[in-house]
Symmetry: C2
Subunit: 224 residues, 2 copies
Amino acid sequence: MKANRYAIVVAAGSGKRMGAPLPKQFLTIGGKPMLIHTLERLHSFDSNMHLVLVLHPDYFSFWKALTEEYRFIVPHTIVAGGQERFHSVKNAIDFIQDESAVVGIHDAARPLVSIDTLVRCFETAEQKGNAVPVIALNDSLRVVNDTGNSAVERSLYRLVQTPQCFAMNILRAAFDKPYQPLFTDDASVVESIGHTIHLVEGNRENLKITTAEDLRWAEWQLTT
Amino acid sequence: MKANRYAIVVAAGSGKRMGAPLPKQFLTIGGKPMLIHTLERLHSFDSNMHLVLVLHPDYFSFWKALTEEYRFIVPHTIVAGGQERFHSVKNAIDFIQDESAVVGIHDAARPLVSIDTLVRCFETAEQKGNAVPVIALNDSLRVVNDTGNSAVERSLYRLVQTPQCFAMNILRAAFDKPYQPLFTDDASVVESIGHTIHLVEGNRENLKITTAEDLRWAEWQLTT
């Protein structure tokens, strides 16, 4: 029997870097909130996948009003966010009581993940226990150190995207450990309990929308 | 007296990754070749700056025809490219006989460098001997190693752009050394003779146009 698929969509951030009054996941792209674009993309990949949306409780009623305004009817469950991304994801994991599931954890601010990337991530995780989408660097890379900075060999590095996908039992074991500030993404949490991370190809447009410029770019991508 | 400024524009690549019959620097963006956009941007930053364009000799006459077709009249000198980027830059350095100059080396495929970035790069190099524009990473970063891959602390890393600017005497000394395959950019050449590289803020749109998707993005940026 095929494992159930879940997507945890992390939208608990405050989006302060955007310089906007609203958290960025609610800003509109082509007349529709970013978060709705993201959820629709995941749903179009696999309409049987369970969607678990992590929101700050302050925005529960705001989100409900948005779904009504935009007639967004894709079924999803809402879970309250925590202090850090780690705690937000942990709350969603606690909700999912399905130990044979495969779970993809996706940034709400990545509405441009491609269907191909979603296929690669979920299918590889189903086979190997986890999968993380990455892309190569087009630019040279330098590392800052105590005495200044120095060049590093960029061909050895990869930029990490989402969804980061994991077998549920592995994910639960990893998030049962205490939070560490070194955890910058979910793969680093799973890696901390000794698992090897499997890399798959992401897509270059799958940018994490961070600045007003990125938002304009996503608007162009989604409306042309 | 203020040092003379030079910009070496490296356009000697074959652009094979674009899947186009022409090297990418000649592809049009909003109806005008990328290379003309790049040269015009540099000229608009400082109309007294000397422009040194490095081209593959196969494209000398093609470029001449392009300048006529697009009535591109900004003065510039053409130098023949070499085997690797290192050799192309070295040919341009050999042409510049002005030991007190400040020289910025810029990718032809970065037409979207901002005037602010150009100001930061040249002014810092004029004060400190060199300057390289960088941006922070929005994505997590992993490094590939013999046994797989692992997370690294992204806050310590910077993506490197151009123009990379240097005092002429430093640049000449660095490029007088033999070529090494480890040189991925001009800063790494200068670093190899013991200089500390000074980092300044680049601009996120200053993308190196590599794919057809990047080209479409640049078109949108330059025409809206």
